[in-house]
Each structure stands twice: as structure tokens, then as C-alpha cells.
């Protein structure tokens, strides 16, 4: 949550995942709902889910807390929305992806590639004067890389929205997305207050 100059809560970001019927016009229904209820979409990602006929959407919405806390309930009213979960307060893993096309003439190409290496990103295309890298991770990681690449000359940045899911249960009987034991699991990216919007 950010605060305005008076210190009062101003805008809040929430992460919502929804399973929706894969029918024409569903996205228009959802985006129309967001518009008329005053929810601002920070990002929206859609793709087919593991269940036939259903797509999964991940939304990041922002707005005043009393407004955005209603997003899930409003979405659930739509006939074609099968399941909806506001996972903002849950323990989640999430990723964004960016393709960054950066100027890389022969004289500084090795420096750019070194940076790519440090960030463990894939270089997926090399041209005579540019290369394109694919970076996956949290927002801070992507933002840092963009900042570092800026001096070489960024030609294009193409970012996806966030995709998210609840963390799996670690012990028997635990619910998915519960906030326990996560710090000990190195494999996962553990969201922090500054980065994830999940707290």
C-alpha cells in the first residue's frame, strides 16, 4: 500500500487470479466491469488453463483500498467467471517476463553479454547492432536490469503482466498459500514488501 502526502492510505495493489470460461466476449465483460467500478488494471495476463474450456487470468489491480477489495466479489458475479481468488494476502509465487532489445554494437557487445550472464537471462536474438534478451523474475529484478542496460541504449522493452499462483503446501494438512516455512525454501522466490505487492 502506498500513502499520499497526508499519510492516508491512497492506492492499494491487489493480485487476483480467476478461472474463466473460454468464450467470446469474456475479456470485454471483465474489462468493462473494471472500468465502470473504477478499478485500474496494472497488468492482466490471460492464457488457457489445464482445464479444457477454461482460461486462467492473473490481474494486478490498483485503486483505493475500499474499492479494490471488492474486485474479487464483483468478478465472481459474472456468469462466465468460474473461480476467483484474491491472493494478495496469501503466500504466492509470481513471475513477470520481459523481452529487452538493447543496442549492442561489436565494441560493447561483450559487456552487455556479461550483464546478461550475471542476471542469468537468455539472449534470444542477436543482430548486427542489437541483441534481445529474455528476463524472467520479480519486478525488481527486471527493473534493475533495465536500469543497468539503459546506458547502452534500450530500443524496446516488452513486458508481460504478472502470473501468479499459490505456493504449494509444505506439510500435510496445510492449505495452499499459507504463510509458513517459506523462508527455508530457497528454490522459490520469496516476495518482499518492496517487490511483490503480496503483503
Amino acid at each position: 500500500m502506498t500513502t499520499n502526502t497526508n499519510g492516508a492510505a491512497a492506492f492499494q495493489q491487489r493480485t487476483i487470479i480467476a478461472l474463466v470460461q473460454d468464450r467470446p466476449g469474456v475479456l470485454a465483460r471483465i474489462s468493462g466491469l473494471f472500468r465502470r467500478r473504477g478499478f485500474n488494471i496494472a497488468s492482466l495476463t490471460v492464457g488457457r488453463s489445464e482445464r479444457p474450456g477454461l482460461s486462467r487470468m492473473t490481474f494486478v489491480v490498483e485503486g483505493p483500498p475500499h474499492v479494490v477489495q471488492h474486485v474479487a466479489a464483483q468478478l465472481d458475479r459474472l456468469v462466465e467467471v468460474v473461480e476467483v481468488q484474491d491472493i494478495t494476502e496469501k503466500n504466492i509465487v509470481w513471475r513477470e517476463l520481459a523481452l529487452i532489445k538493447v543496442s549492442a554494437p561489436p565494441e560493447n557487445r561483450s559487456e552487455v553479454l556479461e550483464l546478461a550472464n550475471v542476471f542469468r537471462v537468455n539472449v534470444i536474438d542477436i543482430g548486427a547492432h542489437s541483441l534481445t534478451m529474455e528476463v524472467t523474475g520479480g519486478r525488481n529484478k527486471i527493473n534493475s536490469l533495465i536500469e543497468l542496460l539503459r546506458r547502452f541504449g534500450i530500443r524496446e522493452v516488452i513486458r508481460t503482466g504478472r502470473v501468479a499462483t499459490l505456493r504449494g503446501a509444505l506439510i500435510e494438512g496445510q492449505e495452499e498459500g499459507a504463510h509458513t516455512l517459506t523462508e527455508s525454501v530457497e528454490h522459490f522466490y520469496v516476495p518482499t514488501a518492496g517487490d511483490s505487492g503480496s503483503v
Binding site: A73, D76, R77, V79
Partner: protein, 563 residues
């Protein structure tokens, strides 16, 4: 049953009949003509020809609210369909189950800006509960059955089905058994509520010392009249009804208080203000009741019972939200509520009524709107169905008509649609041929939809139209006087037609009343006339509705009339 091969228009008719539809309000046009070519072959499906498609939507709405069945409206593509929108939005805001069927241009022409083409599913997204564009005749049957299911269950609402002209003409198999199977994984209808939520609500009711029930439209939609009365009597809780909750609780009952809010009765608003518990039953805490949410009933806890969980905490934070169907939830709550007396609190409410006589009409020789409603209420013994438009006449009607029958008040509460009163009364009369239907109109709203008088005459519907005629947009005059420094603009109707002659032009009976002493005889004369009637009540030109709590205010800003 063997599947029958039918064309799309026939499938629409058969599916409507299978849904129990007996009347369709509509107006034809090119794209929907194939449907009209079939409907005449189904004598059990009565078509009522309206004069404007908005009237079809409002008539279907009035039919739906008054019967509890789904109302059906149909219109052609383009302007026919867009003319429905105000009616659909009205039904959406007030949770009325309406199914609208619109013709669309042929499939090949969709998206080409063809003659009379409009993207009506796109245009009605925000004003329908759901909508469909049906691109294959084989989908018509399942879509109609799904649409009716969605329109009438849960929180009811309008559903629009758009069918291209050539889909009406295409043949497909229709099998009711198969096509009426509902498979909607994303649409669950709440019935009983979660036990923990119910327990919390019961605890608050049992602890309360100054409880008030705020009975909303949900009580009427759910037909929870007996359950509401049982709760009120068992726990001895006074009942405040919202504008659309009127006629959900008998008004001659000692626990009945009245309707609160902007033009509600002062004592009803004050009872809510002084309460320590509000049991909101099927009410969405509309801004006309709440005003300033920070100052609304600040000492009370709130129980909010609603079938739509998106209403919970939308305006006010509920201490005990209960998501479920009102009738089912009250069935859960009532057995566990303690039989109690709230003698002191009821005395206090009676005291508020005595101190704030909001229903007292000021002494004058002029004919006032309040006099008309009071006389209508007295002469009809509170037994009529009342439809209203929006404005001063609506507020006076809500205040002064004393309903003795459940579900007899139909008014555009949410959208505030002027003109709703003329066609909605046609729908209500069609659905209730044995009841007396009075449409209470303002002279402004009446002229927005008065072309539907022809529909009433043509269909021999004996609706009685009471025009509270002050040659003004009365509520506009009131607001300009109170909030815009008396800068009166565009509020006078200096060229109203002679409404008695208008009645006669339509072949109706017309009566004019200008004096208090003629009220009762004129109303009796209208009641006894077998056909539709206009009574032109010429009331005082400029008058304000009181009490009044200005928009966004609280009882601290309550304005009462000095009598």
C-alpha cells in the same frame, strides 16, 4: 422426447412456452420479422404490441415484479434494441427478471455497419446481468433456457439474447429435455447461509436493545413476507422498509415504521439513527438511505443479509454479513432468535413518530399531491397495485399510500427512470387482470412514455392513470429552489396537453380534479369505469416534498415542513 427439427423462430416460441411465458411485449422490425412470422402460430404466446421499445422493457419489468415470473420483451436490431436499454438498466438496478430478445442483422453483415446494425451485446454489457449473441440455431434453445435461469435465480436481473435474422431462419433440432440442462460452472445460486454467519447474526439480534429491521427489495423478491413478520414479532423489532421494500411488510402492523432516507419519514430515519442494531434484509444500503456513510446510524452494529456477496461491505462495513437467499436465511435465523420485548425502544419509536408527524398534511384549500395519494389510499383501502415514475409524486406516493397487500408497489428506485409508470402499469395489469392497478404519474414522466396509452386501450387493460399535474418538473423545481439559489431553469411545462382531451383522443375516459372535495368521487368513478382512465389531478404548482435529507447528508441536516 424426440428432437424436433424447427427453424430458429419456432425454437424461440417453443422455448418461451416451455419457460411458462404467456405474454411477450414487443415491436417488430426487419431483423426480427422471421420470429414474428412464427409467433402468430403459437396462440398461447400472446404478443402485446407496444408503441416504443422502452415501453416493452418496462412492461416486461412491471409484469415480472408483479407476478414473480420472468417478463419478456422483444425488439428488432439497431434502434429497436437501443430503445430497450433504459428499460434494461431500470430492471438491472432494481433486480427485475426480464429476458429481452433482439433481432440482429444477418451473420454475414455483422460488423459491417449494416442498416439497423448495432452491437447490442456490447452496448448492454453494463446494464444486463448477462447477455448472448446466438450464432447458430441449435444454440437458441439452450441459450433461452440458460437466460431464464440466470434472469430469475440468485439476484434476479435482465438478460438479453441477440439473434441474427438468418439464425431465426436456420433449422435445427430442439429438444426441451436436452436443451434445458443448465451447465454453468461459474454461476452458483446462494440459498441458505453459512452457519457461522447465521450464528453471529443471531447473537447480535439477541443482544440488541434498540434493533431496527431495514427491509429491502430482497424481502419482496424472495417472497419472505411471513419470515420477516415472524422475526419482527418474535424479537419485537420495528420494521423500516426501504423505498423498494415498501409492501413487504403490512403497513397497518404496529411494528411498521415507514421508509427512511432522503424523502423518507423523519421518524424512520431517526429510528435508524438511534438504533444499536440494524438488521438489513435484502437491502444494499443505497445512497438515498445512507447519505454520508460516516454519519449514518453511527451507534449501531449492522447485520447485512444479501444474496449478492458483492453488496456486502460495498457502502458500509457489516459487523455480521450473511450471504444467502433472504427467505432461506430468515428460516435459519428465526428459530434461534429469542422471544423478546423491547418495550422502551418501541415507546421511543412511538415518541419519534409523535414528535415528527411526517405524514401530516399542511392546512390549505389548495389541492396538494399528498391529498391525492391519501385519497387514493383511502378509497382503494390500500388494496391497489401502484406503479410510479420518479420525482415528487413518487415520494408522496411512497409516503402516503398505506399498502395492505404484499408486493403491490412498483417504482424505479435504483435507476430513477421517469416514464416507468405508464408501461410498467400495463405489464402489472397484464399479469394481474383481477387487481386494480393505479399508475401514479408526474406530468413530466407521463409525457415520456404516454404513447403506451394506446397499448393499454388496444389490449383492454383498465389501468387508472393518476397524473399529479403541476405543470412542473416538481423535484427539479424543489432542488433548484433549495440548492441552486432559486435559479429556476427548464423546470416549467407551460404547454402541457389537456390530459382529459388526450384521454378522449385515445378512447379512454378522462376526468379532471381541481378541488379536494372532488377527490373521492373522481377516484371512485375511475375505479368503477371498466376501461383505462386518466385522472388529471391539477395540484399546487410549486410545492416541496418533506421531510428531506440533502444528498450526502445525515439526520443532522433533516429538513421538516413547518406545519
Amino acid at each position: 422426447m424426440v428432437a424436433k427439427k424447427l427453424n430458429g423462430g419456432q425454437i424461440v416460441c417453443e422455448a418461451l412456452l416451455n419457460e411458462g411465458v404467456d405474454v411477450v411485449f414487443g415491436l417488430p422490425g426487419g431483423a426480427i420479422l422471421p420470429f414474428y412470422g412464427e409467433i402468430s402460430k403459437y396462440p398461447n404466446l400472446r404478443h402485446v404490441l407496444v408503441r416504443h421499445e422502452q415501453g416493452a422493457a418496462h412492461a416486461a419489468d412491471g409484469y415480472a415484479r408483479s407476478t414473480g415470473k420472468v417478463g419478456v420483451a422483444c425488439a428488432t436490431s439497431g434502434p429497436g434494441a437501443t430503445n430497450l436499454i433504459t428499460g434494461l438498466a431500470t430492471a438491472m438496478m432494481d433486480s427485475a427478471p426480464v429476458v429481452a430478445i433482439t433481432g440482429q442483422v444477418g451473420r454475414a453483415a455483422i460488423g459491417t455497419d449494416a442498416f439497423q446494425e448495432t452491437d447490442i451485446t456490447g452496448a448492454t454489457l453494463p446494464v444486463t446481468k448477462h447477455n448472448y449473441l446466438v450464432m447458430r440455431a441449435q444454440d437458441i434453445g439452450p441459450t433461452i433456457h440458460e437466460a431464464f435461469h440466470i434472469a430469475r435465480t440468485g439476484r434476479p436481473g435482465p438478460v438479453l439474447i441477440d439473434i441474427p435474422k438468418d439464425v431465426f431462419q436456420e433449422e435445427a433440432e430442439y429438444d426441451y429435455e436436452r436443451d434445458s440442462q443448465i451447465d454453468l460452472p461459474g454461476y452458483q445460486v446462494a440459498s441458505t447461509a453459512d452457519e457461522a454467519q447465521v450464528e453471529k447474526a443471531i447473537e447480535l439480534i439477541n443482544e440488541a436493545e434498540r434493533p431496527v429491521i431495514l427491509a429491502g427489495h430482497g424481502v419482496i423478491i424472495s417472497r419472505a413476507f411471513d419470515e420477516l413478520r415472524e422475526l419482527a414479532e418474535k424479537a419485537e423489532i420495528p420494521v423500516v422498509a426501504t423505498l423498494l421494500g415498501i409492501s413487504g411488510f403490512p403497513e397497518d402492523h404496529p411494528l411498521f415504521v415507514g421508509f427512511p432516507g432522503m424523502h423518507g419519514l423523519a421518524y424512520a430515519s431517526l429510528a435508524l439513527d438511534e438504533a444499536d442494531l440494524i438488521v438489513a434484509i435484502g437491502s444494499r444500503f443505497d445512497d438515498r438511505i445512507v447519505g454520508d456513510p460516516k454519519r449514518f446510524s453511527p451507534r449501531s452494529k449492522k447485520i447485512q443479509i444479501d444474496i449478492d456477496k458483492a453488496e456486502i461491505n460495498k457502502t458500509l462495513v457489516a459487523d455480521a454479513p450473511v450471504v444467502g437467499d433472504v427467505k432461506a436465511v430468515l428460516g435459519q435465523i428465526n428459530p434461534k432468535v429469542k422471544s423478546t420485548k423491547h418495550t422502551d425502544w418501541l415507546e421511543r419509536v412511538e415518541h419519534l413518530k409523535a414528535e415528527h408527524p411526517s405524514l401530516k398534511i399542511r392546512e390549505t384549500d389548495e389541492l396538494l399531491g399528498q391529498h391525492v395519494i391519501k385519497a387514493l389510499s383511502d378509497v382503494t383501502k390500500g388494496d391497489a397495485i401502484i406503479c410510479t415514475g420518479v420525482g415528487q409524486h413518487q415520494m408522496w406516493a411512497a409516503q402516503h399510500y398505506r399498502f395492505t397487500n404484499a408486493n403491490s408497489w412498483f417504482s424505479s428506485g435504483g435507476l430513477g427512470t421517469m416514464g416507468y409508470e405508464v408501461p410498467s402499469a400495463i405489464g402489472a395489469q397484464m399479469g394481474n387482470p383481477d387487481r386494480l392497478v393505479w399508475s401514479i404519474c408526474g406530468d413530466g414522466g407521463f409525457q415520456m412514455t404516454s404513447m403506451e396509452l394506446a397499448t393499454a386501450v388496444e389490449n383492454r387493460l383498465p389501468v387508472k392513470y393518476a397524473i399529479l399535474n403541476n405543470n412542473h418538473l416538481g423535484m427539479i423545481t424543489q432542488w433548484q429552489g433549495l440548492f441552486y439559489d432559486g435559479d429556476f431553469q427548464a423546470e416549467t411545462y407551460s404547454a402541457n396537453p389537456d390530459f382529459v382531451k388526450l384521454a378522449e383522443a385515445y378512447g379512454m375516459k378522462g376526468i379532471r380534479v381541481t378541488r379536494q372535495e372532488d377527490l373521492e368521487s373522481a377516484i371512485r368513478e375511475a375505479n368503477e369505469h371498466p376501461g383505462p382512465v386518466i385522472v388529471d389531478f391539477v395540484i399546487e404548482k410549486v410545492d416541496n416534498v418533506y421531510p428531506m435529507i440533502p444528498a450526502g447528508g445525515s439526520v443532522e441536516e433533516l429538513i421538516e415542513e413547518s406545519l
